[in-house]
Symmetry: C2
Subunit: 343 residues, 2 copies
């Protein structure tokens, strides 16, 4: 049996010497190396930005979506959207474990991988069903988990579709838990979306009664979801690309003090500036959205002379799966809403 590198570099075909995520093509032969785990895949949860792009390219035609997805995997050996650069995650059952793999998995365990599909060797034999409203795709196929690859064993007290949909955005609420301090003013842009709803809940929990959580979304339907949960202090209907409009609104709701922390959970481009303007001097902007442009953020803050820290939304932080699943346990209403919308 061949020896693998913990980061999966042994699977990289081109360009040589890079890691599997930035690679253009990786080897998706389903014969494992000594430290790999083979997974029988059941469901792919495509990253929201990626799925939206594919849907648009396919003009919302299901057969065309299938073709695009198969084409991506055929070409790259993984489901990394060439336009958005992003992936998603998957659910499946452990089929085989390399003898040198270190971890607590056993054959038959049902797991969700918590590393991106953009670096996971994947083979799709057949696409069985697409559920466009929840970005989920059931397939017959297999995937590989590297030694360094994160995963969560699926909890028994939460239905698996539900767990998967929440774990997909686990980084956002977990980072929120880390950054929000009691009394903070927190603005959640895209707060009616999947990650936004979890972030709003976690933000209020951490900011507490002395805190001020402002949820912003661009559409009545989405904002109503957040309102129905009722965890935030304010709900604002505003377009996330309208920097000046959002700035004025946040000024008004904070007596001109602006936010200590702005969390960007939208799935569209050109929202960097609203976040920057809504944030107070020496505050923090957390960009969870994958549609964030590095240069727009960097030059945007400089352009308006704001001394703020801007964080790239790392999809992982310690305990992110536990923190996220805990929200579903604590909040009956989020659990119900997620079950209806995303599971």
């Amino acid at each position: 049996m061949k020896k693998g590198c913990p980061y999966g570099t042994h699977r990289v075909i081109s360009p040589k010497g890079v890691l599997p995520q930035p690679a253009d093509v990786i080897d998706n032969t389903m014969e494992i190396y000594d430290n790999e785990v083979l997974i029988d895949v059941q469901t792919l949860n495509i990253d929201s930005a990626s799925f939206t792009q594919i849907e648009e390219q396919a003009n919302h035609d299901v057969e065309e979506i299938k073709k695009i997805m198969l084409g991506i995997v055929e070409k790259a050996g993984k489901h990394k959207n060439p336009v958005t650069g992003s992936g998603g995650m998957l659910i499946g059952t452990v089929k085989e474990i390399g003898p040198a793999y270190e971890g607590d998995l056993k054959v038959g365990d049902k797991i969700a991988t918590l590393v991106s599909l953009s670096l996971t060797p994947l083979k799709i034999d057949e696409i069985i069903e697409i559920r466009p409203d929840i970005d989920q795709v059931d397939i017959k196929g297999q995937a590989i988990l590297f030694q360094s690859g994160l995963y969560a064993k699926l909890p028994t007290d939460i239905p698996e579709g539900l767990a998967l949909s929440a774990l997909d955005v686990a980084g956002a609420p977990a980072q929120t838990a880390k950054f929000v301090k009691p009394g903070d003013t927190v603005v959640v842009i895209g707060g009616g979306g999947k990650s936004g709803l979890l972030v709003g809940y976690e933000a209020k929990k951490r900011a507490g009664v002395t805190g001020n959580v402002i949820v912003i979304d661009g559409f009545d339907k989405s904002l109503d979801r957040a309102k129905k949960l009722g965890y935030a202090d304010h709900y604002v209907l505003a377009d996330a690309t309208d920097a000046v409009g959002i700035y004025n609104k946040v000024m008004e709701l904070t007596d001109g003090k602006l936010a200590d922390l702005v969390i960007n959970c939208v799935n569209i481009e050109n929202t960097e500036m609203s976040c920057i303007l809504a944030c107070k001097e020496h505050g923090l902007v957390y960009f969870f959205s994958m549609a964030t442009s590095f240069t727009k953020a960097a030059l945007g803050a400089e352009g308006v002379g704001k001394d703020i820290d801007m964080i790239v939304g790392n999809g992982y932080c310690n305990g992110h799966a536990e923190i996220t699943l805990q929200i579903l346990r604590e909040s009956e209403s989020i659990r119900k809403m997620f079950q209806e919308l995303y599971a």
Copy 2:
């Protein structure tokens, strides 16, 4: 006289409603609004990533570089490189000040603007001289500074070309001063470049005798610059895109502990992963490089399961001009080297 918005939105032509930086086209009529400052421009300092791109597109032909630069400004009303998205800064003399402008400028002051050219209304009458090795371009032309626009009056004890070249990257050493704590292990990738040399100096100053500053550069010539200054603890010749190679090297130099802080000062793509791998669990990566890809950073960290904070290099932080000019005052050898190389 027409009333202007502090952020310059009154100059945006398309798309409507955005700020001047993300705008495609802005109005570069050189008739000021009530809160604007008109500047007679002497020198443009083009952002390194932008200038490299233009040089390559022009096959290093000076007349072709001129044509491309004039074309950018003709089309956009500002010097925002359409490929890299970045700008640079300028030096000039205050010619006229709107009656509603608040600040301590007076006509005749010699200033450097510290906001990006990517949002500064600019008119070029003539390109007089291009100095490709220092990314500087002397022109005859005019520019507008908005109310929110940062600037520095040029110091009298430092030659202006020298001050300008250092101020162009002022965000990097100033953020270094903010993030480095005594005893920290700091890795500077691209540490032989303009921003890297300042960052290496500031990092060692803040980390102190108990700290460990590791300077990495990809070319002997550049690494030798850093070695000649001699401020760091280690100098490593390595390609910034070789994530695995850099990881191994930093492991070795830190007894397997890796870095508390990694600062990326290179001017090329695909260097996110070296920074992530060189950083220890719960450490910080500061991406000053404008060639950073947001998704590569976000998914890269998740892909290897690293809980680190990654910061978008905001070009501005309080006191950035003062901190940077102070380095030129403190270090005779940096001052000499900058005078030779960049001024």
